[in-house]
Amino acid sequence: MKKNKKSQSVLFKVVAYSVCILLVILSILPFWIMFVNATRSTFQIQQDALSFIPSKYLISNIQILLGKTFDPLRGLINSTIISASSTLCTIYFSALTAYALVAYNWKLRSPFFTFIMAVMMIPAQVSSIGFYQFMYKIGMTNNFLALILPTIATPAAVFFMRQFMLASLPLELVEAARIDGAGEFYTFNKIVLPIMKPAMATQAIFSFVSSWNSLFLPLILLTKSEKYTMPIMVSLLRGDIYKTEYGAVYLGLALTVLPIFIIYFLLSKYIVEGVALGGVKG
């Protein structure tokens, strides 16, 4: 009986590790190719897009990159401002809105939630044009706020926070704070937010990544070179199909992905430990 169990466990481990290692390879491969291509010349890439062996054109790619309208420092600062502010807005206000939906009984609660869900379902292609026209009319093109402020109302994030709060926010704790005479806003900031920290970190990763990579709206809203984000700069490199410098494009992509890498691995502690919910023990 015991032996049987042991062999079962060995079998489980063999299967699990094989699957995981396969998935690890699949996950890392594109990054490896991207970084390798950043060191290859355009013509090498054109004739053989995938290679695992780095080449020696990194310096020349850097020179090409800097010779174009590509200023990594500026792009990095702009992208960071937009993505960091968007992320902060998203997680804080989504948590606040979700808290309103979970912790209080108000008449319009479920209509409001239904409404938030509905907003999430509208395909973005047409409404993004309406958004652009509106921004152009009120003169908010080339203004980071046009990209940051709207993230205060992020339906998907509210939905996410709400589901986590429903599952794991102990409302007794809120009750207890009230009895202690704490204000509602104070309770939210000092008691609810810390409990939600792991969920917020998860959401922070998701929204930072999507904001950092987002291209279409920034591309049409931010048209002055001093406002460009990293992805805009990369897309400009690809703009002229007749003479695209692929080596420089990959270098640009690699430079774009590096900062998210760092942010991601920093926040990943929450993924590793699991976003342990119900922070209060017992």
Partner: protein
């Protein structure tokens, strides 16, 4: 006394929703109303200044519903979404079970979890280009590999085959999103109180039983989130199908979102038809979301709500009685 307080807190529900509501009214309401209205008008073409509501307000909707490419895109979207979502959620659930298993502790599971999310942080455009070169014809890595292994003699033109093209798009979506789904599920599982598992273990439940009877039911709210967002994301799938093969070959990977984009921007600027198609998609997504909400509804919560309502009513009645 206590109950009275409970009622007065309702105003905070409104107060805390203000930032969301205000920002929404400023930034999103106009574009959404604009989209909803355009569908009923004759607004098309570039630089058009004036537009009118159509005599038959549903003309655009009828045109779209009778549009062969739209129908094709609708079925493509469903095929590609199903083909990516079912394996995706299954793999995510399996990984979740492995990584949260109390019996079999996998070494390095933290690292695995972190790495599996990585495909999600590269931009869709780069991934589309990568896969396009992978399946290159007549020379490409997949073709050379298959020839080396002796599985084929002459190179295969993968991307001219509709099923293959759809399959690759579905695979890319699967590969980009299973890690995301898994992370959310894992965090949901870790939110379940360990006491329940401990009790189950004492009763002699196996790992599989525990997953089936404890984990899954307790994961309901999170699962609802995963299902709804995957569905919305899947039915609005745009980046990969657009950038991988522009909806080709022969419309095989044309999704509804790519169709909508093409209506609006591929030459004729049919904003009105694009808007009508958007609204049709919205209704379809809303319909399926409603079904999911219904299926995964929290029966206890509904009970609680009913209870609340009863109490409030009783409270009101009592107040009125007091007044008298």
């Amino acid at each position: 006394m206590k109950r009275k307080k409970g009622v007065s807190y309702a105003k905070y529900g409104y107060i805390f929703s203000i930032p969301f509501a205000v920002i929404f009214l400023i930034f999103s309401l106009y574009p959404i109303l604009y989209t909803a209205l355009l569908g009923f008008t004759d607004f098309k073409g570039l630089g058009t200044k004036s537009w009118h509501f159509l005599d038959n307000p549903f003309q655009n909707f009828i045109l779209i519903l009778n549009n062969d490419s739209f129908r094709q895109s609708l079925s493509n979207t469903f095929i590609i979404w199903t083909a990516n979502f079912i394996p995706q959620i299954l793999l995510a659930l399996v990984l979740t079970a492995w990584f949260t298993s109390r019996r079999n502790k996998l070494k390095g599971k933290g690292l695995f979890k972190v790495i599996f999310y990585l495909p999600n942080i590269i931009t869709a455009a780069s991934i589309a280009i990568l896969f396009y070169s992978l399946f290159g014809y007549p020379v490409g890595p997949v073709n050379s590999l298959l020839i080396k292994l002796g599985l084929i003699d002459t190179p295969v033109y993968f991307l001219i085959n509709k099923a293959t093209a759809r399959g690759i798009v579905a695979f890319i979506q699967f590969w980009m999103w299973y890690g995301y789904t898994m992370i959310i599920l894992v965090s949901g599982v870790l939110g379940i109180s360990p006491d329940i598992y401990e009790a189950a273990e004492i009763d002699g439940t196996t790992g599989l039983q525990a997953f089936w009877y404890i984990t899954l039911p307790n994961l309901k709210t999170i699962l609802l989130y995963v299902l709804i967002t995957s569905m919305i994301g899947g039915l609005n799938m745009y980046d990969i199908p657009k950038m991988f093969m522009q909806g080709g070959p022969d419309n095989a990977t044309l999704t509804t979102s790519v169709f909508i984009y093409n209506q609006a921007f591929s030459g004729s600027y049919l904003y009105n038809r694009a808007a009508a198609a958007s609204m049709i998609m919205f209704l379809i997504i809303a319909f399926f979301s409603a079904i999911l909400f219904y299926l995964l509804r929290d029966k206890d919560a509904i009970e609680r709500r009913k209870e609340n309502k009863r109490m409030r009513k009783a409270y009101k009645e009592r107040q009125e009685a007091e007044k008298l």
